[in-house]
Subunit: 296 residues, 2 copies
């Protein structure tokens, strides 16, 4: 967990509310209210100070009811709030209504213009995939922008088909690796492909693999937890001029270890909330290890 | 618990989200919001990956608010989602509005057409009983279909009166057994009658009895927990070509043991949530016993 350790901002009594990060999540729909909650609460528990959720009017009271810790706005469009966000997650539970996809696209473009670190997940990727060409105009296309796409196997296949005319679902490990590499280079975006082995491709086309032990159970919501954690790591790394490869590695290691611990404790009945329940204890463990460097 | 042990799918890191089951629950009404939640969360905690609840618009925000782990659709009609479900539970908290009963009947017919394993419970049985003749057309009448009806004593009486012109309420154990056997044979559906001794009749008219120690307390909601557990067991058994008798036995044993443990811990104040709280620990205990076969 050294790679996580190095990303955690130093705490001190001189810090003010917000200094460790003010995050935004754009997502949630009538059907999917758990996903934006999971992403938001994971960010908070890994160490962000404030998390705003921008969600569909129908979904807002429900997302609010999951936790008083979140600031939930009953509209997907972040409007003037966007410029106050230190990092943004677009997509968890977004759904595929055209208006929602449009807001996702506009928010992605605006976040890029403002230089806000960005995680694009789930139906945020759908919004993006369907219109990827319009997002790759030169002004939106700067290699140094801290953006991570986080597709699962199906979403990766869709991206690869759309952008590279390549199929990846059911393909060999080497073929997927090749496609991820080309995709990251082509889009000039970092790509974290979730799978039995996580793949992380940076904009130079280099691909790293992470396969720390996780959980053999795959209930819904673990990917949302990863988005939240990754957004914080990306923000902290960007602020300290860190290497984005380390963000991917830290995100993979951290969430896999949370899942491993949850599975060890709960067993097969483990749900996403159990994984998120491990976030704060694991961060504490890593923080303690900072004081005694030999302990991790 | 050997009978449960043999049904549990093997876990591995190669599994993807959904591989252990994507379940649907059709139920819930303005009055009854707990029942579909209990069924759905029980399925998730016994080992399903994703559970969708299709419920009345009025009920949806409330069911959502019970847990971010569930995907809750604010309409009873599953529409295009149905074909993506690996198993379906129809009835918990459904209520008796004619439109709800109609949706239940149509969903049952469609699930049968698609070959989706099916649990029919509570007011799903009412929908079914009132129109049982229309459901027994040859195309819906295949003995091999994995369908389990889960009536309690009152629902069993209603079914027997309607289909066999026989009363079972207050009758002797032998008379009820005879009626259940005839009913299963006549409907060509498996029937799990909940009671002090559970009875499980298969479509050949054979009846087995299960009377493992459970709880002397009978708060509302334990039957919903049984539906959720049984749906998973039925799905896993169907996939592996298992014997449906074992599904009934496993469901009875598992839920009775959860209830016994909850009563032992909580006592008379035990509620359905306490029984469901035992689901994940009991599955973990059974999984552990797989590693050390002598331990159960």
């Amino acid at each position: 967990m050294d790679v996580v350790k190095r990303l955690l901002p130093e705490l001190s009594t001189a810090l003010r509310k917000g200094n460790c990060g003010r995050l935004g999540v754009i997502g949630g729909s009538m059907e999917y209210t758990g996903a934006p909650y999971f992403a938001a609460i994971s960010a908070l528990k890994v160490g962000a100070d404030l998390v705003h959720v921008f969600t569909a009017a129908d979904a807002a009271p429900v997302v609010k009811s999951y936790s008083p810790e979140l600031i939930v706005h009953p509209e997907l469009e972040p409007g003037h709030w966007l410029q106050r966000m230190d990092a943004l997650i677009v997509g968890p539970g977004l759904g595929r209504e055209e208006r929602s996809l449009q807001i996702a696209r506009e928010s992605i473009a605006e976040a890029q213009r403002l230089g806000i670190p960005l995680i694009i997940d789930a139906d945020g990727l759908w919004a993006f995939t369907e219109h990827w060409i319009s997002l790759t105009s030169p002004s939106l296309h700067r290699a140094e922008l801290p953006i991570i796409l986080t597709p699962n196997a199906v979403e990766m296949d869709r991206l690869a088909q759309k952008v590279l005319q390549l199929q990846t679902l059911g393909k060999s490990w080497e073929e997927i690796r090749y496609a991820v590499s080309r995709l990251a280079d082509r889009l000039k975006m970092n790509i974290f492909v979730k799978g039995p082995t996580d793949m992380f491709a940076t904009t130079d086309g280099k691909v790293r693999l992470f396969d720390r032990e996780g959980s053999p159970r795959r209930p819904g919501g673990i990917g949302d937890c990863l988005s939240g954690v990754l957004a914080c790591f990306l923000l902290w790394s960007t602020r300290s001029g860190g290497d984005i490869e380390k963000v991917g590695e830290a995100g993979s290691c951290f969430v896999r270890e949370c899942a491993r611990r949850a599975y060890e404790e709960i067993g097969r009945g483990m749900v996403a909330g159990d994984v998120i329940g491990q976030v704060a204890p694991l961060v504490k463990h890593i923080d303690k290890a900072i004081e005694k460097p030999s302990a991790v």
